[in-house]
């Protein structure tokens, strides 16, 4: 696979790439293996020693598994080299050259700690797609179970494990980080920045992700944690299958990864824009990532807290959620949803940004209502924090809180509606190129309108009370997160594939992928609205006989949906390996990332970018968003 991102430069990597010493002492996989094993040994030995000294049995499952899941990831992260530079800095050792870990000169560099935002972007995308496939296979497994109400392929606990790990992997290890991957690659380029503000922090954020993912996937070996991705107390503090720590700690590492990335984006976007890049000249993807990052920084600590509290209740016998001892069960839901509702926008706003880029370029028109789109993004972000309790309308919420939460929830439909109408208006009088990225964007409009409208249904209290915890909700979240987020991820991947890999994807396979996915997606999820309304509740391994035909149909369509994804995987691999070389700007776009080579130079720009106009001035002859001035900015830093 040719993944070298630029012609060889005079810059010679010194550290990390060729570092001296034995494989066991220099950063890399061998040292990571060694340190992981050492950390695991310590995680057992220390508590065992303490327990023996105080006269308790040396082994206790909850304690040991918790210590293991805290220590081994840290051992791995240290071993692979995430902390080497900082460590040397702190103890005063000689520091390697600042850009020593920057850029990929061989495919091996993608498997090392690398500080180049483009390498990190690719690392994110490939990793998240591996988890996407794992999460998808889990879904196919439980759809097989659901093909008939009398199937018994899995035990009840295993079934609950499948649905819980499916949702957790898709949310925490695919959708959220896949957007972070796209943004990592694209946003610094769009801003005219050489890299992210904190490249080493960026590398650490990435490496936490496979760590979090392995923790969640590892739980499958023992049947999977099975409290649902919502992990409601007291089911999660009671934890009938002893798998809760996998979810708790997986969320901690994925969450920390996202907080660090968000801080990085906020600082990068606010301080590293090229000269002339005023806020009102920022591409909408940048606005979207700025807002999303604010949501992540403000919201994610809440889910972290909720998972720590659950873990403490279980491992240390604290009483946060134990009513008999003065705890509160419903408190968990408040804390959890205070993050997890904004999380819906964390999973959607970056997608909105991608759609704005794709539609404007592919319709050859300025985006309709730039200011309204940017403002609606920010207002969704703000309103997003005032609606969390709509997940709790049947939970035993204070009755007075319900109507205000319904109203704020419904108000979010207004900025969302503005976006939809603006995108549709952008198409009008355009010159539309219906290439694969645009097909996905159009597919997104179709499915997301359905997901948005069913969201209004769910906001209306009496309807919510009828359909919450049913397949109607399952249909809604998949219309929003699959028909919404995943469709935009595909739109973005096809759109930037030439820029990221330097190769064109196969257009024919891209279209097959789209149409098969679009049809099977709607066939899988639309009937679920109907089933939920009539009485099929979610998270059950069996259901009433009268729903059998529809479920069989849904399962078959879900298998088609899975098969369609394989077309993408094949297309991506084959095109990356031996596709047509991509031109620098195949879509004739104005934003900065398209004005550099495909793939971009290792330090992004050969000249200093200066922004001279808006990002979407299509239809105005000679319009420019950016010009490059003589001196290569990067040289100054060496």
């Amino acid at each position: 696979m040719s993944v070298v991102t630029s012609p060889p430069s005079t810059h010679t990597p010194a550290y990390g790439h060729t570092g001296g010493g034995s494989v066991w002492t220099r950063p890399g996989w061998w040292r990571a293996l060694l340190w992981t094993i050492l950390a695991a040994a310590l995680a057992i030995a220390v508590p065992a020693l303490v327990r023996v000294i105080v006269g308790w049995p040396w082994w206790q499952y909850e304690v040991m598994s918790t210590c293991l899941m805290i220590a081994t990831p840290l051992g791995f992260l240290s071993g692979i080299g995430c902390f080497d530079y900082w460590g040397k800095y702190i103890v005063g050792s000689p520091l390697p050259e600042g850009h020593a870990d920057h850029g990929a000169y061989s495919w091996r560099d993608y498997f090392k700690v690398n500080t180049d935002h483009k390498v990190i972007g690719i690392q994110y995308l490939v990793t998240t797609f591996v988890f996407f496939l794992i999460g998808g296979m889990l879904a196919e497994a439980f759809r097989a179970q659901l093909a008939s109400p009398s199937n018994t392929y899995f035990t009840h606990d295993a079934y609950n494990g499948l649905i819980s790990t499916h949702a957790s992997i898709m949310i925490f290890l695919f959708i959220i980080p896949a957007f972070a991957g796209i943004a990592n690659f694209v946003v610094p380029l769009m801003l005219g920045a050489e890299d992210m503000a904190f490249p080493r922090l960026n590398a650490l954020s990435f490496w936490m992700l496979p760590t979090a993912g392995l923790i969640m996937v590892a739980s499958l070996i023992w049947g999977g944690f099975n409290t649902g991705w919502t992990g409601y107390a007291t089911l999660s503090t009671h934890d009938p299958t002893d798998q809760g720590t996998f979810f708790n700690m997986g969320v901690q590492f994925a969450g920390t990864s996202s907080i660090l990335t968000a801080v990085n984006f906020i600082v990068t976007i606010l301080t590293m824009r090229a000269p002339g890049m005023t806020l009102s000249r920022m591409p909408l993807l940048v606005w979207a990532n700025l807002t999303t990052s604010a949501l992540v920084v403000l919201g994610t600590p809440f889910i972290a807290a909720s998972q720590f509290m659950v873990m403490f209740d279980r491992v240390m016998h604290t009483k946060f959620f134990n009513v008999a001892d003065g705890g509160s069960t419903i408190m968990y839901q408040h804390i959890f949803w205070f993050y997890s509702h904004p999380a819906v926008y964390i999973m959607m706003l970056p997608g909105f940004g991608i759609i704005s880029e794709v539609i404007s370029v592919m319709a050859r028109k300025p985006i309709f209502g730039y200011r309204a789109l940017a403002f609606s993004t920010v207002s969704i972000g703000v309103l997003g924090f005032s609606v969390w309790a709509h997940h709790m309308f049947v939970a035993g919420l204070q009755p007075w809180l319900r109507v205000p939460m319904m109203v704020t929830t419904m108000l979010i439909a207004v900025p969302t509606g503005i976006k939809i109408f603006s995108w549709v208006a952008t198409l009008y009088n355009g010159v539309i190129n219906l290439a694969t990225p645009m097909l996905w964007a159009m597919g997104f409009l179709f499915t997301f309108v359905i997901g948005g409208l069913s969201g209004i249904w769910l906001a209306v209290l009496p309807i919510d009370i009828q359909v919450s915890d049913t397949y109607f909700v399952v249909a809604h979240i998949h219309y929003v997160l699959f028909g919404g987020s995943v469709f935009t991820i595909f739109a973005g991947l096809y759109f930037w594939f030439p820029k990221i890999t330097g190769k064109m994807y196969n257009e024919k396979l891209g279209k097959w992928h789209f149409w098969l996915t679009f049809i099977s997606f709607n066939a899988t999820f639309f009937p679920q609205h109907y089933l939920g309304m009539l009485g099929m509740r979610r998270r059950v391994w069996t259901y009433d006989e009268r729903f059998a035909d529809w479920n069989l149909f849904i399962s078959m369509m879900a298998f088609v949906l899975g098969a369609a994804t394989l077309i993408f995987v094949y297309n991506a691999i084959i095109s990356w390996w031996r596709g047509e070389p991509a031109p620098d700007n195949p879509w004739r776009a104005l934003t900065i990332e398209w004005q550099v080579s495909s793939p971009p130079p290792i330090f992004n720009f050969d000249g200093a970018p200066r922004v001279v106009g808006g990002p979407y001035n299509y239809g105005q002859p000679g319009a420019k968003h950016v010009v490059f001035e003589e001196a290569p900015v990067t040289a100054a830093h060496h």
């Binding site: 035990t155 009840h156 606990d157 609950n160 409601y232 089911l235 009671h238 009938p240 299958t241 009513v323 008999a324 001892d325 069960t329 050859r364 300025p366 309709f368 209502g369 309204a372 049947v394 035993g396 919420l397 009755p399 109507v403 419904m410 108000l411 207004v414 509606g417 503005i418 109408f421 603006s422 549709v424 198409l427 009008y428 009088n429 355009g430 010159v431 539309i432 190129n433 179709f446 409208l453 209004i456 249904w457 209306v460 209290l461 009496p462 309807i463 009828q466 919450s468 915890d469 049913t470 609205h529 109907y530 009539l534 009485g535 509740r537 998270r539 059950v540 069996t542 009433d544 239809g619």
Partner: protein
């Protein structure tokens, strides 16, 4: 502007046709079984129409552009019209969206209010949600508890308080959240541990149609969640209900008298055993777990297959209460019965219960 009017007109027609198909042909709302679902129905219908119309307008506008404004081919280098927006249009759709959501929010609040209309003298029933069964306590009728289903009269508002059993402080509280949902009634309420109040954790229903309905647990509650649905919600005519109530009270009185003499039966009732287990002497009819009428046969079977180390029937029953997964009766799944009884019941209580069950329900 003329084009926009055309999109709206065509979209409206298409949307109305689609809604009509879903409402009248697919028929995707459950049978109306209560005043609440009657109140919901016009709201559901209206939101269906409005949703399909909005969807169709977007689809028509998008479809028109995709059909009309396509590029000629890869060599077509034209750009589109450089319009950046249209303030009037943007304000109009913002206003329209705002009107739609305010309208439905107001209507939703009104329906919610109607759905919760009740009077001080309405019959109050406490729904005890266990892992994995429901029991119904008739608070307004003397407080007796039924584990074989919910019996209510047609045309009368019922106030349902949801509760989960609470354990004594300091013991491990293993009760989890359950949900109570009868789809035909259009109401749903979770039983969240610790959420008990006059209005919190309460739902109101006025059944309007005589018949038998299914109740489902709607909150993931562990291994037995899939099985936690029971077709034992009975809406009776007033006369039939009155007759049932008289019998139920007499039965409850009989059981209470027996329980006074039989501490084991008192424990059986207070721990909610009957919610899941049939035991004829205690007049319980639960079907989630194995029938306790057959407990001695289960012991024999367990002994024959060497699956229990209990020396005698008493030991076997004690083991099954304190450590339910030690032996699983044929045809049942593990991890369904709570493992908490060993800590939530006192030693005296367990002894009384074991003795009661071992003797087939006779004697103290």
């Amino acid at each position: 502007m003329k084009r926009i009017a055309q999109f709206i007109a065509l979209g409206t027609v298409l949307g109305l046709v689609l809604s009509a198909i879903f409402i009248w042909i697919v028929d995707w709302f459950p049978t109306e079984g209560s005043q609440q679902s009657k109140n919901n129905f016009p709201l559901f219908i209206a939101i269906t129409y409005v949703s399909f119309v909005i969807f169709a307008i977007v689809l028509v506008a998008m479809g028109y552009s995709l059909w009309k404004f396509r590029r000629g081919g890869p060599s077509d280098m034209r750009d589109g019209d450089p319009t950046h927006g249209n303030t009037l249009l943007e304000l109009s759709w913002t206003g329209a969206a705002l009107l739609v959501v305010i309208f439905f929010a107001a209507w939703g609040a009104k329906v919610l209010d109607d759905n919760e209309a009740h009077a001080a003298n309405d019959r109050v029933i406490t729904v005890h949600a266990y892992s994995f069964a429901f029991a119904y306590q008739y608070d307004s009728d003397g407080g007796f508890t039924r584990t074989d289903g919910l019996y209510v009269p047609v045309g009368k508002t019922i106030v349902l308080h949801m509760v989960t059993p609470l354990f004594t402080p300091g013991t491990k509280n293993l009760e989890v959240i359950h949900g109570f949902w009868v789809p035909e009634w259009g109401v749903k309420q979770d039983a969240t541990p610790g959420v008990v109040g006059k209005t919190v954790g309460t739902t109101y229903v006025k059944p309007t149609r005589i018949g038998d309905y299914e109740v489902q647990c709607t909150e993931l509650c562990g291994s037995g969640h899939g099985e936690m649905h029971f077709k034992n919600i009975h809406v009776l005519s007033q006369a039939a209900f009155d007759k049932w109530l008289t019998q139920a009270k007499a039965l409850a009185e009989k059981v209470r008298a027996e329980a006074a003499k039989t501490p084991g039966l008192a424990v059986f009732n207070s721990a909610g055993c009957g919610g899941c287990h049939t035991f004829t002497p205690a007049k319980s009819g639960g079907t989630t777990g194995p029938s306790l009428d057959d407990v001695s046969q289960d012991y024999t079977r367990a002994k024959e297959t060497s699956k229990t180390e209990a020396a005698n029937l008493t030991g076997f029953i004690r083991e099954s209460i304190v450590d339910p997964n030690a032996y699983i009766a044929k045809g049942y799944a593990p991890n369904i019965m709570p493992t908490s009884f060993g800590s939530s019941l006192s030693a005296t209580q367990i002894a009384a219960l074991v003795g009661y069950l071992a003797k087939g329900g006779s004697g103290p």
